[in-house]
Amino acid sequence: MVQDEIFFDPTGAPLAAHASGALHVQDIMCLRGSHCLFDGFSLTLDPGAALAVYGANGAGKTSLLRLIAGLVPIQAGAVTLPAAPDMAVAVHYVGHLDGLKNALRVWETLHGFAGFYGCAALSEWQTKQILSLLGLSACADRPVGELSAGQRRRLALARLLPVARPLWLLDEPFTALDTQGREVLTRLVGAHLALNGMVIASSHEALPFATQTITLPAPQGSV
């Protein structure tokens, strides 16, 4: 019961599996300036599946994730999740930029995540639980600005925990993480998949949790 150790419901109720249905990406096109990265790109991701996106620098891995998250306007095609009409509240996106505020302390950042996603305030026990899971217990009171790159990455991943969303979009999630950090992330993803969640992660190295992979073609000439 991996998920019981990682995800918890404050009321003690058993956790509900995600019922979002499969993710469909249909014929999307990605433009970077006047440069066409890919056109007519489609994929389907079933609940409980994790897709690793490989590709050379500039192939459009980040753009693909941002397109799916709705952070880049979709020029052509569609991204749909049947049970979630609003993609914005169905995805967690952890990108290159971590979105953390240097002036805030680690625990304040964590409580901020809970507040922003509209879930109940984290209890002291929950806060401790999340921090120890991520290996950040020792720096709960330190300002984020003092953390190392790997610790920042771990804290950025904490965004995935307070509120459950069916689709995780992780942009090179292993960057800056040490062996133990990678194990933690792999466990988190495993528990997420066990609850019928979906993951799309870009990477330059093999991702142990991937159930399927795709390699984006190398960047071509302009349109």
Binding site: R66, A69, G70, L71, V72, P73, A88, V89, V91, H92, Y93, G95, H96, L97, D98, G99, L100, K101, N102, A103, L104, E108, G112, G115, F116, Y117, G118, R159
Partner: protein, 222 residues
């Protein structure tokens, strides 16, 4: 509502820890101290000009603090996350603007009576000026936030934000200064009609500016 408050509270916390409150008040005082040197030692002249000077200094202080409102979030990636919250982007930006109002503008307003001494503002004229500034400030913050959102993808955009926002400030400034002058009679009674116009501006900005800010931020997505 809880999300709104959480966003607002974080904005207040960041503004306070980043020293924005103290910096804004210090800027106000330095500007107000310099003005008499520029105008000369004519006390009567200073008193006449004072309301206008206070308004212009307020405008400049706000402009200087507002240009980072969204750019800081763009640089550290927090802006992306604002799009993914279970709250309409219009309300998200309103929460941020409200937080900015609480942590920068309210302290500035409280500092105005003290700064007024340096400009030889008589106590009897103070209530009108304060009421006008308090009613005008929300419009100033919200209009400034439109400029900040429009120029969010441009680095070091303080001047550009100024160019975008200054024309929008003109009506608020005109009615603001009119409302800052006590009504005739010299008993210090506030200029109710002028204040009403400012309040109306504030309401209009409250309804329309978040839509414009959110649209500007969405247009900056890439």
């Amino acid at each position: 509502m809880r999300i709104f408050l959480a966003l607002m509270f974080q904005q207040v916390r960041l503004g306070w820890r980043g020293g924005q409150t103290v910096l804004a008040i210090a800027f106000l005082f330095i500007a107000v101290t310099l003005l008499p040197f520029g105008i000369g030692p004519e006390l009567r002249l200073l008193k006449e000009l004072a309301p206008g000077l206070v308004w212009v200094v307020m405008l400049l202080t706000l402009m200087a603090t507002l240009d980072r409102l969204f750019q800081a979030d763009l640089e550290d990636g927090a802006l992306d996350q604002l799009f993914l919250l279970p709250l309409a982007l219009e309300l998200v930006v309103l929460a941020k603007a409200t937080g900015h109002f609480v942590v920068v503008v309210l302290p500035l307003l409280l500092a105005v009576p003290l700064a007024g001494i340096l400009l030889n503002i008589e106590p009897v004229a103070l209530p009108s000026l304060m009421a006008a500034l308090a009613l005008g400030a929300p419009s100033l913050v919200l209009l400034g936030a439109i400029g900040a959102a429009l120029s969010v993808t441009v680095r070091r955009a303080t001047m550009l934000t100024g160019l975008l926002v200054m024309p929008l400030y003109v009506p608020v400034l005109i009615f603001g200064i009119a409302a800052s002058t006590p009504s005739a009679g010299g008993d210090g009674a506030v200029n109710a009609a002028g204040l009403g116009v400012l309040a109306l501006f504030g309401l209009a900005a409250l309804l329309l500016a978040p839509v414009a800010i959110a649209a500007a931020l969405r247009a900056g997505l890439r």
